[in-house]
Symmetry: C2
Subunit: 403 residues, 2 copies
């Protein structure tokens, strides 16, 4: 089994997407991830979409494979137990992952008094600590105004900044834990969601393009920038994307469509070298005119078969329903997927880690916990509490189990 | 200095976004990342956008802080040197990151004959090894048909799957290196770009929503799904995004706009509980009507000041030019940024790692290398070659330096 992070224990006090995704990513690689929530669940516990019985498909999908502990976090007693779990013993423990305001008992200063080598990962909105979420970061990024075909900005639906932030957190956590085993030092690792956006805008060349060329990338609809690619309608009312980023892929398009000679006429006609990405990008209008005609004469199945046979880089457009119904990659034929029985939801397809390791099979996907299902077990295992102690904490309302 | 990964040596044989971003992420945390390219550069070396002198702003932005070695990779001699660098000595070395076809001399089997504990990270398009890129993965994801307001699919401009894949690679690399120090074993770690997409679609609840509710999320324009949020036009022709995902944020909107009492009328009018996310989502049309009126009477600066003062979660829309010109977060006032002198480009703002560590300042951003600038130094340092040996390899065209 690919339990590559087996032994690592991470405590998570979180909500929404980025930090929970970070914790789940580690759990799917074999780490023990203990999510601590207030009794009844945190603010994200009932987010849409919901199952017919009211379970959040959002929450269950983002918290698979974790252990769930629920505490009265608004009381000193509940905070004390959370603190003990976070700073609990073990060379591979003492790691907190959070996106909640880390003040008072949950500040790095307060917690590290109880465990000097604590590693604390802290996600904030902005680097000055002010609030921001994916939606308020995305609007400022420049991407919405460069998306679509019109002047009106188009928001992304994929919370891409949250997803990237979750994976920066796992990277930072493993880097800090690696270094702790060398120098014995704990660390506070901070990440701002808007910094993830800003670094990425820069990493992709947009900042330099503005500064060096005074160029603000305009919206290009579904055209690729700087290469050849666009969507085309098929004869059966579907759409597909065709792309060429190498000369081999460009020649494959001619081969698949039988248009090699006609496509070659575009070079001299437009005065460009079609064996360069810049040339194909500049002449894309003419190229698209030919491809539009060709794709429009074929069904998705026909066009796809011809394109695949010739080695063209292409893909079908699918809505979420078609993805689940038609795409064999989105099924148990793909080793990342398995069927799970999710409490409150039923039997559903779920993914494990997309990372595969040669030393064995992947960890199969496992369901999210019921809220508080591991409270008693974790308090016994990590803090060595007796049943009597645990019983008294239940009686005082300091801890809760499921239901 | 936050050189948390100092000592780690990673060899990268890559092109485009995901694998180079993975390598750069490690370099920005202090790792030594040696990018090996064919003489003259790989297929991504001249990608748009270009500087006035023809340097790729795309390439320089995605390869900051690496060392560059150029070899005649199409010859046995060049391959032999690449193999020696990849499998070179050092407890923290012997790690390859690639998205190129890993066959022949670059297969895990061939390389691990020279270093049994080699860690090899390999990014492919699909899990069966077939090709796919961000654009052909995205069209299949379901997101383009759920983006925008119309039936026509809208491609994302941010290559979000590439960005996420790059960060899964860094996570997988650090996980495998952690385990190698425990069990001494090398590993091949595989990741398919389409699996990153599929796992994410599942992690966000879309697959379960289809399977459990037979619900295919329709496009909602710029409205948030399942919460309150949308874009609004200001009196000076700008736009801003207002969001509330908590009751505190919802009350802040009333406070900022002075509309608390009018907003409260919407609950009974629409028959919903406005103190729930579902209630606010269901009544969003009426809420937006009031907010649209209010925002439209203010400039961006006026509205922003009032919203910020009351603690509303909001953000301005900015194009890439406005982001660079107007947003103080995108400047050297933000500790992730610095000015660099990039060869062929000039003096530009660049980001280092968005991750910050308490044990010192962040590594300042550093430029991308000139192609081949480190060939001689790396061959001397890693392989212990003499100047005479290096000279002979230059003479035979097996290696090359810059220019």
């Amino acid at each position: 089994m690919s339990t590559i992070l087996k032994g690592l224990r991470v405590t998570e006090v979180s909500a929404f997407i980025a930090a929970p995704l970070g914790g789940m990513t580690l759990a799917q690689l074999g780490a023990e991830v203990i999510r601590i929530d207030p009794i009844g669940g945190n603010i994200d516990y009932r987010r849409m979409p919901l199952s017919p019985t009211g379970a959040s498909l959002y929450w269950t999908s983002l918290n698979k494979g974790k252990r769930s502990v629920t505490l009265a976090l608004n009381t000193p007693e509940g905070q004390e137990i959370a603190r003990a779990l976070i700073t609990g013993p073990g060379e591979e423990a003492g790691i907190l992952l959070t996106n909640l305001p880390a003040s008072g008992w949950m500040s790095h200063a307060a917690l590290s008094r109880h465990r000097a080598d604590l590693i604390m990962l802290r996600l904030t909105g902005n680097h000055d600590g002010s609030g921001a979420v994916d939606y308020t970061v995305n609007c400022a990024s420049g991407f919405p105004t460069a998306t679509g075909r019109d002047e009106a900005p188009v928001n992304h639906v994929l919370p891409a900044w949250d997803v990237a932030a979750g994976l920066y957190l796992t990277t930072g956590l493993l880097a800090a834990e690696r270094q702790r085993r060398r120098d014995g030092q704990g660390r506070e690792v901070t990440l701002a969601l808007s910094d993830v956006m800003l670094a990425t805008v820069g990493n992709l060349g947009y900042i330099a393009d503005v500064q060096v060329n005074r160029n603000v990338r305009p919206p290009l609809g579904n055209d690729l920038y700087g290469a050849l690619g666009r969507d085309f309608a098929t004869s059966d009312g579907r759409r597909l994307m065709i792309v060429a980023i190498s000369n081999r892929q460009w020649r494959a398009i001619g081969k698949a469509t039988g248009l090699t000679e006609r496509l070659a006429m575009i070079g001299p006609m437009m005065g460009v070298d079609l064996d360069t990405e810049v040339g194909r990008f500049d002449a894309r209008g003419a190229i698209f005119a030919l491809l539009e005609m060709w794709v429009g004469r074929h069904t998705l199945a026909e066009a796809g078969a011809l394109l695949s046979a010739a080695g063209v880089l292409w893909g079908p457009y699918q809505d979420f329903g078609q993805l689940v119904a038609e795409d064999p990659r989105c099924s148990t034929k793909n080793p990342i997927f398995g069927m799970i029985d999710q409490s409150g939801v039923g039997r559903v397809l779920a993914a494990g880690s997309p990372l595969g390791f040669t030393d064995g099979d992947r960890l199969p996907p496992v369901p999210a916990p019921a809220m508080g299902q591991d409270t008693d077990a974790v308090l016994a295992e990590v803090l060595g509490m007796s049943s009597a102690q645990i019983g008294r904490l239940h009686d005082s309302g300091t801890i809760a189990g499921p239901g």
